[in-house]
């Protein structure tokens, strides 16, 4: 039996995301939809494994907006549902979300946003907490693993109590951290789906699900927030830890609570510093705030990325000044805490120390000096494509075609492992100078291609992954084709949503529930648009190079090259080598070759290393994935590949 279905009262180790999934199961959720994105993917992933046992419909949707729409339909039909996404996914879903909060909902519906302060696995550190205040929906933030489960379960009840969507926000250090959770009861699910819509227009429980009449419904929506506020005043997810009258009050939420608690312990200040931990962060409960702000005159707000909590606390405090007196606030506005990036116990301890003039016990000076000496020896380990990654071969092809063309063409980048071509430019052979949101590579390429009349006349290329293609590229591609944008559009088709853990996408004949479903083919869509389409294997350098070279020279609008080769880490490939690859030391001329170490200096595969004693290339058998591409790049043919291991 899977851990996610553990019986009530059992203590288990859950990933934060598994705890959220368990919370949804305990709430009796019927529908869960998401688009994968780190650090959110494991919520749906783990639910998909228990979907049959729990009579749950689980879907990897084409993008976050559609995921939320799928979840909303279930809510409208009276079922409990959930949509899960990473921080920037909320931006994608936000247009529908604006209208959803206005129309109201029926069955409990929870939007889970797992965010990435410090951008550990993102190209942004977007903040979705502001969506909670902007679109006026309750916001819950768990600060440990038990709470991740319990708050998720409660979020469904809250959503039903107010007839509107509730947002639960996690962060990487919650979602991808693990801890003990005591399981609750899994309910017997009895709800049937039924959608009624013949009631009065102002009754969202029986009438049509629409956002009009806008102002009347907006006022109704805001009235319900008063109910939320009252519930938040009594919520057990908000609590104060510390002396009745501390010198400093910390107000915090999420993983930051754990950092704050650790920092206070590190400094030994448990008697002098109190912590108000909030699990309900919008709308803030004013009475609870007032009671706690009275404890002291110095307040430190500990939160990551934007000063959302700080602003909301200050607004409430300013309205209470007559009763609670003037306060001194520390946080991001006064630069006590950094304005960007993630926090940790050391940063928080530094902030507390600076306010109270206390210093942490330091390591012995001699140790610190030795440590510094050792640190100077350590080379950085830059991110790179894995051994056997098809993207390395694809960018090798792209780089060579651009060089051969000679007009200094460039690639507009997109979101996936191949983003590394921009993040570590040498990994992409310095071909990819732009990187923004999903699908924006194609939109940018469409725009660059229209600048010829202003003097920008060079080949414009763009890349996207197979999953990204469906998520957000199609409108941009239609735009390019229709507006005669001469672009070479390359799909890096590695047969799955590889970066987030091989979730299926619409191009595959398998669903999240492992059912057989119709595949929607990328080539067929591109052909239907009217684009010229070719398919190649990126490991076949000669064939791929030929197509790319002719595409770059060609006039017209969109030319599509689908480079198809499964990810080296995909379940069907992992641990299996297609080729046994070795360097023939007699053929490798080393530094005398004249290739200037093309294999190790330029190609940069982690499995192809340089023996500094022999001054020859050598394949590391532990790391080599056996793709055999390096055998095609050696001018001496010293890298030998043989089939059949």
């Amino acid at each position: 039996m899977t851990k996610l279905l553990s019986p009530a009262n059992k203590k288990v180790l859950f990933l934060g995301n598994e705890a959220i999934a368990r919370g949804a199961l305990e709430a009796g959720a019927s529908v869960a939809a998401a688009y994968p994105g780190t650090p959110s993917s494991e919520v749906i992933e783990s639910l998909s494994h228990v979907a049959r046992e729990r009579n749950l419909y689980v879907e990897w949707s084409v993008n976050e907006k559609v995921a939320l729409e799928v979840a909303a339909a279930a809510s409208f039909a009276g079922l409990r549902s959930m949509a899960v996404m990473k921080q920037n996914g909320v931006n994608v879903a936000s247009d529908f979300l604006l209208h959803l909060t206005a129309s109201g909902t029926r069955g409990g519906i929870v939007l889970v946003s797992c965010e990435d302060p410090g951008a550990l696995s993102s190209v942004n550190e977007g903040e979705s907490r502001y969506f909670a205040s902007m679109l006026e929906m309750p916001l819950l933030e768990p600060s440990n693993f038990q709470e991740a489960k319990d708050l998720t379960r409660w979020a469904f009840e809250l959503s039903e109590a107010i007839g509107n969507v509730v947002m639960l926000r996690s962060v990487t250090r919650m979602s991808h951290a693990s801890g003990n959770v005591i399981c609750g009861k899994l309910p017997v699910k009895t709800r049937r789906a039924a959608f009624t819509y013949d009631g009065p227009v102002m009754d969202s429980q029986t009438g049509p699900m629409i956002s009009t009449p806008v102002v009347a419904k907006h006022l109704l929506h805001q009235k319900k927030l008063k109910v939320v506020e009252a519930l938040f005043e009594k919520s057990p997810f908000n609590r104060y830890i510390g002396a009745a009258k501390p010198e400093l009050l910390i107000i915090t939420s999420s993983a930051c609570f754990l950092y704050a608690e650790e920092a206070v312990g590190m400094l030994g200040l448990q008697k002098r510093v109190g912590i108000l931990k909030l699990g309900t962060t919008w709308p803030l409960p004013p009475k609870l705030l007032e009671k706690n702000l009275r404890r002291t005159d110095r307040i430190l707000i500990v939160e990551e990325v934007m000063p959302f909590l700080e602003e909301n606390v200050k607004v409430l405090a300013s309205g209470m000044t007559k009763r609670i007196g003037m306060k001194t606030f520390f946080g991001k506005y006064d630069e006590t805490l950094p304005a960007a990036g993630e926090l940790n116990p050391d940063i928080v301890a530094g902030a507390i120390g600076s306010i109270l003039n206390v210093r942490r016990k330091a390591l012995p000076d001699a140790y610190v000096a030795e440590s510094k000496k050792a640190a100077a020896l350590i080379p950085p380990r830059e991110q790179t494509f894995c051994a056997g990654c098809p993207h390395r071969a694809s960018f090798w092809n792209i780089h060579n075609a651009i060089a051969l063309d000679g007009r200094k063409g460039f690639v507009c980048g997109d979101i996936g492992c191949y983003s590394m071509a921009a993040l570590s430019p040498a990994a992409g052979y310095h071909t990819m100078p732009t990187l923004h949101s999903m699908g924006s590579g194609t939109g940018l390429a469409s725009g660059f291609a229209k600048l010829t009349q202003f003097g920008l006349d060079k080949p414009i290329l763009t890349v996207c992954g197979d999953s990204t293609f469906y998520h957000a590229v199609i409108p941009a591609l239609i735009n390019a084709q229709h507006n005669l944008a001469n672009i070479t559009f390359i799909v890096l088709d590695n047969q799955g949503t590889a970066m987030t853990g091989f979730q299926p996408h619409p191009g595959l004949e398998v669903s999240a529930l492992r059912d057989v479903v119709p595949a929607v083919e990328i080539a067929a869509i591109c052909e239907a648009i009217g684009a010229k389409v070719a398919v190649s294997d990126p490991f076949d350098l000669a064939a791929t190079g030929k197509i790319l070279t002719s595409f770059l020279a060609e006039k017209g609008s969109v030319k599509v090259l689908i480079l198809r080769q499964a990810c080296a880490l995909s379940p069907e490939k992992k641990g299996k080598k297609t080729f046994d690859v070795k360097v023939n030391e007699d053929l490798c001329l080393g530094d005398a070759c004249g290739c200037n170490r093309l294999c190790t200096r330029i190609f940069r595969c982690p499995a192809l290393t340089w023996d500094r004693t022999k001054k020859k290339a050598v394949v590391d058998e532990v790391i080599c994935a056996g793709c055999g591409v390096c055998a095609s790049i050696c001018p001496q043919q010293a890298i030998m590949k043989s089939q059949g291991i």
Partner: protein, 206 residues
């Protein structure tokens, strides 16, 4: 030798480090699973996704008798560092080390790209061992990758390291707990090879 499995009163901080793809996450979950069953409150902090592609990976394990801890260990706060790659052991040691820390490291390097291209230098074995010596209370270097290769898969080096860790007695777990933990998820033949790796690791600690 009998394993020390009696309950501890203070939080033990362990950092498990290596390079993406070395089985770091699996190792940390296995360790944590055993310790949760033994009654501890365990918090693991880790990152995975894009951050692991060819880069350094790190799991922070907090083993507490009574409370959930920050998923990030404070600087200078490690009690034990277990590394699947020696350079990563050193990287973690220079940030989270202290005079009382114990280090258990695999000896086989995975070269960073900058070293492969010739732009950067990988420190010599002697330089690494000398730094371990100066920056830890005690350290062990074991060739876990070779054992993994002998057993048919280099990724088993993570289990070799767990076996070695058990033998050091630094954490409250033993072979019986390990076996119970892996039987939850692995097939019987996989359990057999994992136990072999565990035993081989334990045998490397004198």
């Amino acid at each position: 030798m009998k394993m020390k499995t009696k309950a501890r009163k203070v939080t033990k901080n362990l950092i498990l480090t290596g390079v993406g793809g070395q089985g770091n996450v699996m190792a940390s979950r296995t360790l944590a699973g055993m310790l949760v069953d033994a009654g501890y409150i365990v918090t693991i902090g880790e990152t995975f996704g894009m951050s692991q592609r060819g880069g350094s990976v790190m799991s922070h394990l907090r083993i507490s008798p009574d409370a959930v801890k920050s998923p990030q260990i404070p600087r200078g706060g490690a009690d034990v560092i277990v590394a699947l790659e020696p350079l990563e052991a050193l990287r973690v040691l220079t940030v989270y080390g202290n005079p009382q820390v114990h280090v258990l490291s695999n000896s086989r390097p995975v070269y960073p790209i900058g070293v492969i291209t010739g732009e950067l230098n990988y420190p010599s074995d002697e330089a690494i061992e000398s730094a371990f010596d100066r920056l830890s209370a005690r350290f062990w270097m074991v060739d876990a990758t070779s054992v993994g290769l002998q057993l048919g898969n280099p990724v088993l080096s993570n289990i070799v390291m767990i076996g070695a860790l058990a033998k050091t007695g630094l954490l409250p777990f033993d072979r019986r707990m390990f076996e119970k933990e892996i039987r939850k998820t692995l097939t019987p033949d996989k359990c057999t090879v994992n136990l072999k790796a565990f035993d081989a690791g334990a045998a490397m600690i004198k």
